[in-house]
């Protein structure tokens, strides 16, 4: 067993045991915090496929997070008011339907944004993805039909067949199962021929091209998969808060998802989980200590970049064994 496997096992046990303990001790707030960690980690798993595997530094993943969130908001608000969506079909308050819609919508968004953005590279790619995120942000603000700047409240959490999603531990179980599914998928993807080719294209695109594989296709497919996972996380995040607003599209959201990935360790399978867990823990602990907790958060992030290269998992597990 490598050190990274041990750390990953510890993370899984921690993410499962903390809410179970909170359930026994009747601490619903801790369960909600754990749910938030699972959802944000899921968003990070999505971004990690773009950044870690594909080498595409997207500063606009809030676009997909927001599209997923609004997919939930739009379907649920129509189900709430019994009106058809865009006059075409009925809304829905069933989670599986909403997830499919969120996956489809964010996948389409990622296909469009990716196809245009991947014409550029390097710093220009960072900035063009940022611009697409901002475009959707301003569109959400000035689109009055779904709340505009004020956002959209959903009164009831959407349902899942056989479960009561309003019970915190049950909603946690759903998010945790999806996170586990996404992690499994990402692990399989990294070892698949597609993942290996993508990894090779990140390192030397020319060589991949010489053996007859077209790097742009690989990157675009990875970008779409990445956007879809982040979009699913957006739908769950909206369900957690029972609220969607343009903030989900803001560049700070893109920055935070990026922080989870880098804090945990770029390209590490469990990096986003470690990053999101540490971020939410810091937010909770420091937020209780001081009104100006962002200063300490900033200092900690700065120290991680300057001194702990490779993030938490990179520091603890050492170099060399990524994607295991």
């Amino acid at each position: 067993m490598t050190r990274e496997t041990i750390i990953n096992t510890a993370l899984v046990i921690g993410l499962l045991m903390v809410p179970l303990w909170a359930w026994v001790a009747d601490e619903p707030f801790i369960i909600t915090l754990s749910t938030k960690v699972a959802i944000l980690a899921l968003a990070g798993v999505g971004l990690n496929i773009a950044i870690g595997m594909g080498g595409m530094i997207s500063f606009g993943h809030a676009a997909f997070f927001g599209v997923g969130g609004y997919a939930m908001g739009i379907l649920a608000s129509h189900a709430q008011s019994y009106t058809p969506v865009f006059g075409l079909f009925e809304g829905s308050n069933s989670m599986p339907v909403i997830w499919l819609a969120a996956l489809a919508a964010s996948g389409m968004a990622a296909l469009g944004i990716g196809a245009l953005s991947l014409r550029t590279s390097g710093a220009y790619f960072i900035m063009i993805t940022l611009a697409f995120g901002q475009m959707l942000f301003y569109f959400a603000i000035s689109w009055p039909a779904y709340g505009g700047e004020d956002g959209l409240s959903i009164y009831m959490r959407n349902g899942f067949p056989g479960l009561n999603t309003l019970v915190p531990i049950q909603f946690f179980a759903i998010t945790c199962a999806l996170l586990a599914g996404a992690l499994l998928f990402a692990a399989r993807l990294a070892k698949s021929p597609f993942g290996l080719a993508l990894n090779a294209a990140r390192q030397t695109a020319e060589r991949v091209e010489t053996v007859g594989i077209y790097p742009l296709k690989l990157r675009l497919s990875a970008f779409v998969i990445s956007g879809m996972i982040t979009g699913l996380a957006g739908a769950l995040f909206a369900d957690l808060n029972r609220f969607v607003s343009p903030t989900m599209f803001s560049w700070q959201t893109s920055g935070e998802i990026m922080v989870f990935v880098i804090l945990g360790g770029v390209g590490r399978l469990f990096g986003p989980v470690a990053g999101a867990a540490l971020f939410i823990m810091l937010e909770h602990v420091l937020g209780g200590l001081s009104e100006f907790w962002h200063i300490y958060l900033g200092l900690i992030l700065l120290c991680v970049v300057l001194f702990a290269r490779g993030g938490i998992i990179g520091t603890l597990a050492g170099r060399g064994v990524a994607h295991d």
Binding site: Y124, H294, V305
Partner: protein, 306 residues
């Protein structure tokens, strides 16, 4: 739509563009010379505005306030460069983005801790307030006209600095080959600190100038920062000329788009629908412009091809 309104909006667009240029010039220099993506550039804009508001409050002099904004922002820039930024030059863009994101958090919360959450106000001095009459009988605020003038002066100064002075030669040489000018005996780390402080000072000046029109508050830098990024990407990263062209283009697109689009959509649809579609498209217009430029020219208007 009257001609006077259009001319007024063109002047507003110019003023906005010139202010964006002050931000973008530093950003593009730092990227061109050091290869660094600096998200914390907006923080110097905020620092400059707060320094100006504090000095204007204490002394009552607007001129001293502007000097203070330049000085304090330059000092903050030099300090941050020596403590943090210097360690980031050799890192990849991802780590630079995260580290400078962390710097934003530190700067914003630090300023909130020092000055509180309430916005400060910086008043336009008496000798610059009130309208002037331009040829053609157009009334335009003198202060905004002054901003345009200051911006154009700074742009000229910067061009002379880059093309005519020894420092400018070193900056241009640094852009094309870092190792070589270090080997030729130029103190490269001092040069980097000077370039970074210069960029920070220009951002601080922009913050102080705009602070007198809007309020001075924590978080004022980030929206402008994003726009400045749009500007340098449109112009081509590293090019001062590109930054000026991009800034004016973005400024004009933003102000004229808000004016023209609702009128344009009124041709196809009802007045209220046209107003809402027009204004939502207008707020997205500069990003659409940027995407269009990058699709046609993937490294910006004046950027070196990647």
């Amino acid at each position: 739509m009257s001609t006077i309104l259009v001319i007024e909006q063109v002047l507003n667009g110019l003023q906005f563009g010139v202010m964006l240029f002050l931000m973008a010039a530093g950003l593009t220099l730092v990227f061109g010379v050091m290869g660094l993506i600096n998200l914390a550039h907006g923080s110097f804009y905020m620092v400059g505005a707060f320094a100006a508001a504090a000095v204007a409050g204490a002394t009552g002099s607007f001129f001293l306030a502007l000097i203070a904004s330049l000085g304090v922002a330059a000092a903050a820039g030099a300090l941050v460069e020596m403590l943090v930024i210097r360690r980031l030059y050799s890192r990849d863009h991802l780590e630079q983005v995260l580290a400078t994101f962390a710097l934003i958090l530190i700067f914003s919360e630090g300023t909130r801790w020092l000055f509180g959450s309430f916005p400060l106000y910086l008043n336009i001095p008496v000798y610059l307030s009130g309208p002037v009459t331009l040829p053609g009988g157009i009334q335009y605020p003198l202060y905004r006209l002054t901003i345009i003038m200051v911006g154009l002066l700074v742009a000229t100064g910067l061009f002379l600095l880059i093309t005519r002075t020894r420092l400018g030669i070193q900056i241009r040489a640094g852009q094309s080959d870092r190792e070589m000018i270090a080997a030729l005996g130029v103190d490269i780390s001092k040069l980097y600190t000077i370039v970074f402080a210069l960029g920070a000072a220009l951002a601080g000046l922009a913050g102080a100038l705009v602070g007198a029109i809007q309020s001075v508050q924590v978080g004022m830098g980030e929206p402008v920062l994003i726009l400045a990024f749009v500007v340098i990407v449109i112009g081509g990263i590293g090019s001062i000329k590109g930054a000026l062209v991009g800034a004016v283009l973005v400024g004009l697109t933003d102000t004229l788009g808000g004016l023209v689009l609702p009128v344009f959509f009124k041709l196809f649809m009802g007045a209220s629908a046209a107003a809402s579609v027009g204004s939502s498209l207008a707020s997205m217009l500069i990003y659409i412009l940027m995407v269009a430029v990058l699709i046609v020219k993937p490294s910006g208007l004046y950027g070196a091809p990647a």
